[in-house]
């Protein structure tokens, strides 16, 4: 060999890159920005989720304090307090602390919001809590016990003393030493603020009072909601749990700190994963845009690369050249994206809260939790998207024969080469198959894989599809020269068209898929609201309730046509799952569809067995089918019930069980109802009816009852729906804007690359405006092809979202609805954007010297 191996020339690399970037800074910036936006979205969503999760875990820890183990009641009714001495004496238990746990709020009367109070009221025995959950002792109480001369510090047992967490103290607007009024379980009591729970999570509202006061004044005599336990030193937790389980009644369950955290995690996991996936999709779109930008840049510079090859640059060197360019663009974009994502996360946490408007963590503003690893992962993802986007063009550039490429007139295409379809079709087929695979760990991972594969397949099939779509237009020459030229060019250069199209198709199809899914869900929710809120007026009381006599009186009130009383209460079937909702209302066991929006078959319960009807999420979460039997912990015992059918429900994601009121009263002895919906007689206004009914209510109850007009409720529900999808809309809009920016960049790059071609056309006598018209036609055609492909692909992906992702993560189904108006405006926008950017770029391309353009090789 005459030449020894030398390292790749770094100087050549730098000269080439700096030169290119100086010549086309806008294009480089667009590609970097696409990556930045993708990374920013992903990182921001991740940060927010992480912070929210951390807050959730912290909240769980504070309410649970430091207990090793807890026993929780499966419903707010609690379990018999006799369990407490039984567990306290159990082997392996060093200490047990009984707890009454209630939802409460400050002030008197019904809460002003639909959402009820956000305060957790705990009744504890400080003597027991001191050994198990010392964080629940107020600072004041501890100090009172420290007088060296005292015997029993009576202040510890002060029945009207309350200790508040810092957040609760702030919410109450009081100071230590002042009094505060609290309403829980329908009773209002005034306490003296005796201390602060200084170790409580900063955002959580907790109030602690004496357990005896809690039982007596808030109607919980003989009942406990919780027992906190501490293991004896050296006890085997598994063995202790097993021993405890044997002592538990059906309406109590063992909850460990882990299962509690898991429960909170389960609640929001699907929501969080969906958002992260959406963010990753945005990153993927960014990857496609980098691919577009890089492959155009490579195509344009093919002769330059050929020259370098001729002058002695090895293939490896050329690959490295394109790759390093991609890496720099990706790296800069990813760093920018991390900074942007951090900013977005801070802003979002501040203004929307930790659930991005999803409503999961009420009233908390979590602190931002930043860990280096996720930042690194998102940086790598951004870099990878850019590198993969650069890989194909780089390989193509290295493979080219430099001798031929050098003479190439910039825009190489062989109209007779038939683009292959199998690659794209294969990916689409794989995507379709993936849609049929089950969820993994409650997450629709294969559903997302399916969408990703479909996206890749759709983009890969674009050259072929573009030609198929344009073929009918080809035919015999038309009289319109510019249109013929435009069609010939697009038809003859499908790969180039595909490059321009892949960004547009990726973003359009994602947007269409999301839009169809959201429209379908919204339509189904609207229908469902009509089903469950058919009446004119609702009223409810947060605690206490309407007894049978009062109900009869209310039903007979003038102006009331019909009234349906119901009650809802949470029931815990499994310690690892969030409680589901027991919906108690009159349901005819033969005709459940009269009162519930049933879906699918209905089964008749055998005589003597209580029928229940599961909501769709409940059936999916617990894997129950119509006709099966299940155990329901109710009223101190457990009852075997029969599943009579499944009904549609979008409100209670953790699931709901409907039961006839008579059955419920028989099983629990509880004959109070807390909600009612009224049909009004013709001519009676909701305001009139409200006045009439309020007058009928006994005084203490009347103060607690809230009235709602159904119309307002429905509007409110849909408003909540829209606000919770606000972030989804925002992500979509960003994807579209990035897509359009990519399209504009691509079009202008392609147009500029064809300056010589336009020069030639001008030479042979084509008018300037004819060239512009040709470009506009090309742009519009490309936009149209993009719309058609994007719509088709998006519709396919929307079906995966509707029939795979939603049922697997939220356990509900819906009927497909197409937002045709949105499709139409999207089509117009894309065609116009295609034509517009092509024309704009064309003006620049035509402004130069045509003669010179022909003579110049690049």
């Amino acid at each position: 060999m005459t030449a020894e191996r030398r390292p790749l020339s770094r100087t050549a690399l730098a000269w080439m890159m700096v030169g290119e970037w100086r010549a086309h800074p806008g294009r480089v910036a667009t590609a970097a920005l696409a990556i930045a936006i993708g990374v920013a979205l992903g990182f921001a969503v991740h940060l927010i989720n992480g912070s929210a999760q951390n807050e959730l875990a912290q909240a769980v820890r504070t309410v649970n304090a430091d207990a090793d183990l807890q026993v929780h009641s499966s419903t707010p009714l609690g379990f018999d307090e006799g369990l407490y001495p039984s567990l306290a004496r159990a082997p392996g238990i060093a200490a047990a602390s009984p707890v009454v746990e209630l939802r409460a709020r400050f002030g008197v009367g019904p809460s002003q919001s639909l959402e009820g109070g956000g305060l957790t009221l705990l009744g504890i025995d400080p003597l027991r809590a001191a050994a198990v959950t010392p964080t629940l002792l107020g600072r004041g109480a501890v100090r009172a016990a420290e007088g060296a001369g005292g015997f029993v510090p009576e202040s510890v047992f002060d029945p009207r003393a309350i200790a508040l967490s810092p957040a609760a103290l702030a919410a109450s607007g009081r100071k230590v030493g002042e009094t505060v009024t609290l309403t829980a379980a329908g009773r209002t009591v005034t306490f003296g603020v005796a201390g602060v729970l200084s170790q409580a999570s900063s955002e959580q509202q907790i109030a602690v009072i004496d357990i005896a006061t809690a039982q007596w004044l808030f109607g919980s005599l003989g009942r406990l909601q919780r027992i906190d336990l501490k293991f004896a030193p050296g006890a085997d937790p598994q063995a202790v749990q097993a021993a405890l389980r044997a002592r538990l009644p059906a309406d109590a369950q063992i909850v460990t700190a882990q299962s509690e955290a898991r429960r909170g995690d389960n609640l929001t996991k699907a929501y969080r994963v969906n958002l992260e996936m959406l963010a990753l999709m945005a990153l993927l779109t960014g990857g496609f845009l980098v691919y577009s930008a890089q492959s155009l840049s490579v195509a344009r510079r093919r002769p330059q690369f050929a020259l370098l090859r001729v002058l002695g640059l090895e293939r490896r060197g050329l690959l490295a050249q394109v790759f390093v360019e991609g890496a720099l663009v990706g790296g800069v974009g990813a760093v920018l994206g991390l900074a942007l994502g951090l900013g977005v996360a801070v802003g979002t946490l501040k203004f929307l809260g930790g659930d991005l408007g999803g409503g999961y963590f009420r009233g908390t503003t979590p602190d931002l939790v930043i860990t280096p690893l996720p930042a690194l992962i998102f940086f790598v993802l951004g870099l990878a998207a850019a590198l993969i986007g650069s890989l194909l063009p780089a390989m193509e550039a290295a493979r080219a024969q430099p001798g031929i490429a050098l003479k190439d007139i910039g825009d190489r295409n062989d109209p007779d080469a038939r683009p292959a379809a199998w690659w794209g079709v294969g990916l689409l087929a794989a995507g379709t198959l993936a849609a049929f695979l089950p969820a993994i760990g409650g997450l629709p991972l294969f559903g997302y894989l399916s969408i990703g594969l479909m996206l890749a397949g759709g983009v890969a099939a674009m050259p072929w599809l573009a030609r198929v779509l344009l073929s009918p237009l080809r035919g015999p020459a038309r009289r319109v020269l510019v249109l013929d030229l435009a069609i010939q060019r697009l038809w003859g250069a499908p790969a180039q068209a595909a490059v321009a199209l892949c960004g547009i198709v990726a973003s359009t199809s994602l947007m269409v898929a999301m839009a169809v899914m959201v429209a379908s869900l919204r339509g189904s929710v609207d229908d469902w609201l009509n089903d469950i809120l058919p009446s004119d007026l609702l009223f409810r009381v947060e605690s206490g309730g309407f007894d049978p006599a009062l109900r009869a009186k209310l039903a007979a009130a003038p102006g009331v046509d019909a009234v349906l009383f119901q009650k809802t209460l949470p029931v815990r079937l499994s310690p690892d799952m969030p409680p589901l909702i027991l919906l108690v209302r009159p349901v005819d066991r033969d005709q459940p569809a009269d009162k519930l929006p049933m879906i699918g078959a209905v089964a008749q319960a055998p005589a003597g067995v209580t029928p229940v009807w599961l909501s769709e999420p409940a059936a999916r979460l617990y894997g129950r089918k119509v006709g099966e039997r299940m155990i329901l912990p109710l009223g101190g015992g457990s009852s075997q019930v029969f599943i009579g059918g499944i009904w549609r429900d979008y409100a209670r994601q953790a699931g709901a069980i409907a039961m006839d009121g008579a059955d419920y009263t028989r099983l629990t002895g509880d004959d109070l109802r807390t909600e009612a919906s009224l049909d009004l007689a013709p001519g009676v206004t909701p305001a009139q009816a409200t006045r009439t009914l309020r007058a009928l209510l006994p005084a203490p109850l009347a103060a607690q009852v809230q009235f709602f007009e159904t119309r307002q409720m429905r509007a409110l529900a849909l408003r909540l729906f829209d606000s919770s999808f606000a972030l989804t809309y925002a992500l979509e809009a960003i994807a579209i804007v990035v897509g359009l920016a990519g399209v504009a960049a691509t079009f202008s790059a392609q147009t500029l690359a064809r300056t010589k071609e336009f020069g030639m056309l001008r030479h042979v006598g084509v008018l300037r405006r004819q060239v512009m018209a040709m470009l506009a036609a090309e742009g519009a055609l490309l936009g149209a092809v993009g719309v058609i492909a994007g719509l088709g692909l998006g519709l396919a992906m929307s079906q995966v979202l509707i029939h795979v992702v939603n049922p697997q993560s939220f356990h509900w189904t819906m009927e497909t609805r197409l937002p045709l108006g949105l499709f139409a405006s999207l089509a117009v926008a894309l065609v116009a954007a295609g034509a517009g950017t092509a024309v704009l770029a064309g003006r620049r391309a035509l402004s130069g010297d045509a003669v010179r353009a022909v003579r110049e090789d690049w």
Binding site: M1, A3, A12, W15, R315, L406
Partner: protein, 228 residues
Amino acid sequence: MSASSPVLSLTALRKSVPGGRVLFEGLDLQVAPGEIVAVMGESGVGKSTLLNLIAGLDQADGGQVAIDGTALQSLDDDGRTRLRRDRIGFVFQAFHLLPHLTLAQNVALPLVLQSVEAGEATRRATALLDAIGLTRRANDRPAQLSGGELQRVALARALVHRPALVLADEPTGNLDPETAARILDLFVAQVRGFGAAAILVTHSERAAAVADRSLTLTREGLVAHHDG
């Protein structure tokens, strides 16, 4: 012909185009160090293809190309690329200067590809530009130059790394006759000055006249050229 070993040796070379038409076969050529050979012929006869074969940018269907005694067929693509980088210089009809690099950077490219340090490479390139009459133009960009000036820069780039063989493909094809004549003189002077051999593909009788040998490419190979 010199007695020393040839810079370039073509033996029984055969090449056809993808359609199957044979461009030439049984082509033999020996070029001695410092010798300038003109190759003429009709359009489409394969003159540029011959240059690509010599440069290792294209593969012959048969026969052998050897540079400094090394057979190109024995090398892989990287090996041929390195041989090209170190031993061969190119001048093209269309100049092929990179628009975003300065003249000095364009000229320095072959050195830079040999991993010569950037400052040293541009210094040598600037010196060469001075020598061929482009004094103080080193930091201009190609867009500011006329065709004749562009080809001077290209010539400088072909010689800056002191190749053994310069391949020139119609170097005056894009120039007016007066400029063409000046460039041709410069070309011969510089190639001889650097002691390189050269193959000059040209249509121009005037160009052929400056060569040591003048050959015509036909289907049967290279034959000695005779005026008229």
